[in-house]
């Protein structure tokens, strides 16, 4: 049995009926099919969004690292402040941005808010049109929304698809699997195997190693291990001591996102294509159906009037994208701005 980050809960995938995947779909645009341009995200239908779509375009920038699109950013004020998705930005690689008119820019990171996964960037003033904030409290299920795709050259439309709510935090994972038949061992907990991209395996842990300590806490059962690891977030460094034979070996493991390790084992995630590494741990999100890629997070989500009612924050699965409500994003931006101002004084 596979465990998640050391917990023993059965995998969700075991409890969810799959839906058959059809491998050969009819050729696109066969005469019997609705032409592509007339479909929900066809050119004609999308064009109907009108000025609202243009508003989204004028406030969206692409963010690149090492020449690759990593996220979108939202222009929030005339001074050149942008919001983007923090966890998509690698800490060490230089950033570049492309404005709606195609101008290449070098943004600087003024601050990050890990709680809401937002980063505040700064570019010179006048490079993008600041968003017109709308009121996310007025949205109901079924309201049209739109946002730019990751290259910021086309729009996607869809609806608010579910109830606005909190998405509970998902702790980081070690990426180890434990033997469910293993009796609680007084010495520690034996590693049975590793998930894909396991950070524990990357650091050199092996099957059969006994985990005996996490930080300062002795580990004697699977439950204790699960509780200890779940205190930490993805990307946190955790000190772990293992026993291999007679030898005690200390490791420092950078926990990974659950999605990076175990998503490949989850049928729904497998049929979802690429999703955001961080797609949980948000105090308040709007849920919509725009089929955006993870690199399209950080851009504005607009309503039919072209007002920005949210900032796209996570591609969760094939049918789900989350956006932080505009009021929350705006408040975080204000906090990051004043923190940056203080720091520069």
């Amino acid at each position: 049995m596979i465990t998640k980050g050391g917990t023993l809960k059965p995998l969700i995938l075991a409890g969810v009926i799959g839906i058959c995947v059809v491998h050969s779909s009819p050729a696109q645009n066969s005469p019997d099919e609705l032409p592509s341009n007339l479909r929900l995200n066809g050119a004609e239908t999308v064009r109907a969004f009108g000025a609202g779509g243009e508003a989204a375009r004028l406030s969206t920038l692409t963010i690149l690292q090492d020449g690759k699109n990593v996220a979108l950013a939202t222009a929030i004020d005339p001074e050149g402040h942008l919001l983007t998705k923090s966890s998509e930005l690698e800490p060490d690689a230089p950033l570049s941005a492309v404005s709606p008119s195609g101008e290449k820019l070098q943004p600087i990171i003024l601050g990050r808010d890990p709680a809401n996964d937002l980063a505040l960037l700064k570019i010179p003033p006048g490079k993008a049109v600041p968003v017109d904030w709308g009121n996310p409290d007025l949205l109901i299920q079924g309201n049209w929304v739109a946002a730019m795709t990751y290259t910021a050259d086309s729009l996607m439309i869809g609806v608010i698809s579910a109830t606005r709510r909190e998405i509970k935090r998902r702790p980081g994972v070690l990426g180890v699997t434990l033997d469910p038949n293993d009796d609680p061992d007084e010495l520690g907990v034996a590693i049975d195997g590793f998930g894909p991209n396991s950070p524990a395996q990357k650091k050199g842990m092996q099957s059969g190693d006994l985990i005996i300590r996490v930080q300062d806490k002795d580990i004697k059962s699977r439950r204790e291990l699960a509780d200890a690891i779940s205190q930490f977030d993805p990307m946190d460094d955790v000190d772990i001591k293992i026993l291999r034979g007679e030898e005690g070996i200390p490791f420092t493991v950078t926990l990974n996102y659950k999605s990076n390790v175990f998503d490949m084992l989850d049928r729904n995630q497998r049929m979802s294509g690429k999703t955001s590494r961080r797609k949980a741990g948000f105090s308040d999100v709007l849920q919509h159906e725009l089929p955006l890629t993870p690199q399209a997070m950080g851009g504005p989500l607009v309503n039919l009037q072209g007002q920005t009612i949210g900032i796209n924050i996570a591609r969760a699965d094939r049918v789900t994208t989350f956006a932080l409500p505009a009021t929350l994003a705006n408040r975080v931006a204000g906090q990051l701005k004043s923190a940056a101002d203080k720091a520069s004084q």
Partner: protein
Amino acid sequence: MSKGKATLRVNHAPKDRDFHSFSLLAFIFSASSLGMQSLQRIPLTACLLLTTLCCTNLAANGQPLHAVFEKDAPQSPADLLEIQKQVSSVLDKAKQATVCIVGNGSGSGVIVSEDGLVLTAGHVSGDPGTKVHVVMPDGTKLEAESLGRSAAADSGLVRITEKKKHPFVDIAPPATVFRGDWIFAIGHPGGFDKERGIVLRVGRVIHRSTDTIQTDCKLIGGDSGGPLFDMQGRIVGIHSRVSKKNEQNYHVTVRAFKRDWYRMLAGQVVTIDDSYAKVQRKGGFLGVKRISHSRGVQVTGVVQNSPAAHSKIRAGDVISHINGKKIESLNSFRTLINEHGPGDKVLLDIIKRWEGGTKKVEVTLGNRNDFLPARKPANFGK
């Protein structure tokens, strides 16, 4: 394309409305007295309404749908807003009847009768007789049992065994959804989540065949068995399978449910052979629209230039026998006709509504394909 063309293009919207007469002819169906507990709810008047108002869609309140639904594509934010309003007007009722089905895994379903009959996907209902739970939108768990399913079409039935009045929605008459129609999908993707609630997706029909509707509504595991609705808030399909492309997914048609209805109600697993053996057509064609009648089938309309028209069969006439065999039901009428090919002569006993009396009429059957658009085979096994 300029906005000025919008009104012109209404006339040749790429919707298959011209198939209406075909659909009605082929699938006209009556509320039968054989215990068809859910499809019974489809009022015959709806069929008749469609014959008279062939190209007009009506909203749930009886008002015609907004003009946007006759356009190739919405042309403006105002058009999009009309779609939003129309979905909103029927969404609440649709959600109240949409359930999560928990058995070996988790799927979705939709209640179609007050006594708790649930349409779902065959791969959700599973083996007939399986005990499952039906989870209502508020989280209430009800005891339920799988009835039959079709392994061919992926249709399935579940019955809630707890006796109470359940919220339910109507099923659209078979074959009333067409390419280009706006539709919406709801369900419990990934399983029941009370805080999140039932998840909505809006889209259009890409293609429809006998057993399958393809739409651009996005689906994922857990949605299986959930309902696809038309803009009147009637069920037109049940979510079945996804393609690799995010915005191309598949739903079982209402027609597929209807074809295997009694066998599924009786708890049978219907295979491809069962589904098609009995509707093998030799292609003989008479050309009457009909409803069931105590003495056979009653003609409600005659196709122009058809063998029936040449034989002076008129609306109101009752056909009681074919080649001396008594017509017991609409189905037996179809079966008896289908035993014959084009050019075959059949002897009909007809009770003449207008002239009075009974008459034996010999009719040479025509070729179905000369009168009807060719049918596409269903997308099985894909």
